[in-house]
């Protein structure tokens, strides 16, 4: 598949969501010369991975993850904007306020494509909430200026409920970059990949098996 995009905006709530979810796709766009901006909702302040062995604690984690996020965006060569919400609280904030906040940013950047989580199929409440707010934000933009939205579903039942995703990106050519991006999130990489397959310590093998392609549903407004 090949796409011609003007600018791509990625909207996820946590530092590392971009790495696990879309870093292959982002790399593909960057190699085509397409500018990419990551709007990262929180600093993952309430994450429970503290490194293994632990090197962070609840109070140092926000700064640790902020630095990891900045490093990961350097690896991906994307622009980063941190939105300043707090981890685990996005679903309790006003949906309307977050949508207006995002709408303002999207109207300034004028992307042709927005990538976010598929609300109701994104497992983590922050993913569902920010995905819903992002889609609401795009919906509020006039149709002639409205970017496309690719929504990412990670729930166990998304294939049964939503069918096959219409966008499937083979990221094997970009796997090395994806791994570099994941590993930039030093405090999270081992714990997240390890929990996907507790049988082995070979996190690169886990990543290859579990993260070999990146799939999205084009949102139908």
């Amino acid at each position: 598949m090949s796409f011609v995009e003007k600018h791509v905006v990625v909207i996820y709530p946590h530092p590392d969501d971009e790495a696990f979810g879309a870093s292959g796709t982002i790399t593909k766009f960057r190699e085509q010369g397409v500018p990419v901006t990551y709007l990262c909702g929180t600093l993952g302040e309430m994450g429970r991975n503290m490194g293994n062995p632990t090197f962070a604690n609840r109070e140092t984690l926000p700064e640790v993850r902020k630095k990891e996020l900045i490093d990961a965006c350097k690896v991906l060569d994307v622009e980063l904007k941190m939105l300043g919400y707090r981890d685990k609280t996005l679903e309790f904030e006003s949906r309307d306020e977050i949508a207006e906040h995002l709408k303002g940013l999207i109207e300034t950047i004028e992307p042709s494509l927005v990538i976010t989580h598929y609300p109701g199929h994104a497992v983590h409440p922050d993913h569902d909430a920010l995905g819903a707010a992002a889609i609401e934000a795009v919906k509020r933009i006039e149709t002639n200026r409205r970017p496309n939205v690719w929504a990412q579903a990670i729930s166990r039942n998304h294939l049964e409920e939503l069918g096959e995703p219409d966008i499937s990106i083979d990221i094997s050519p970009f796997f090395k970059k994806k791994m570099q991006t994941i590993l930039a999130h030093h405090s999270q990489a081992q714990g997240v990949l390890g929990s996907m397959n507790p049988e082995t310590d070979d996190i690169e093998a886990i990543a290859k098996e579990r993260l070999g392609n990146e799939q999205f549903y084009t949102w139908n407004f």
Partner: protein, 117 residues
């Protein structure tokens, strides 16, 4: 953070006796517990910057599993599963328990100034 020893942490807990302090208390098994294992449940709770004043404090336990109780005028603060502690640069007492992979399961933190919210 380092391994809890009762003597060290008891001293630290007593440093805040009869003072207005801010508490962060949390337990979690992560947002993906039931996603990664369909027999598991997602359970978690946190309270950040609860303002309290405790009159009595005690740490009990051994090995890698300690409990802390803080006695308030009209109630208690309790945490189980603590194994590590640290007094950070802001003189705050941070206590936590982690699983084998270093993931936080429980935290109890006490400070004379509010935690960053």
């Amino acid at each position: 953070m380092e391994q809890i020893t009762i003597d060290q942490v008891q001293k630290q807990l007593e440093r805040f006796l009869n003072k207005d302090v801010y508490v962060h208390l949390e337990t979690t098994n992560g947002a993906y517990a039931s996603h990664n294992n369909d027999k598991a449940y997602n359970v978690g709770a946190f309270i950040r910057n609860a303002q309290v004043n405790y009159k009595h404090a005690k740490i009990v336990g051994s090995g890698n599993a300690f409990r802390v109780g803080l006695k308030l005028d009209i109630g208690w603060i309790y945490a189980e599963g603590l194994s590590q502690y640290e007094v950070d640069d802001n003189d705050r007492l941070l206590m936590a328990g982690h699983d084998r992979e270093g993931r936080l399961m429980v935290a109890l933190e006490i400070s004379e100034t509010p935690f960053t919210y």
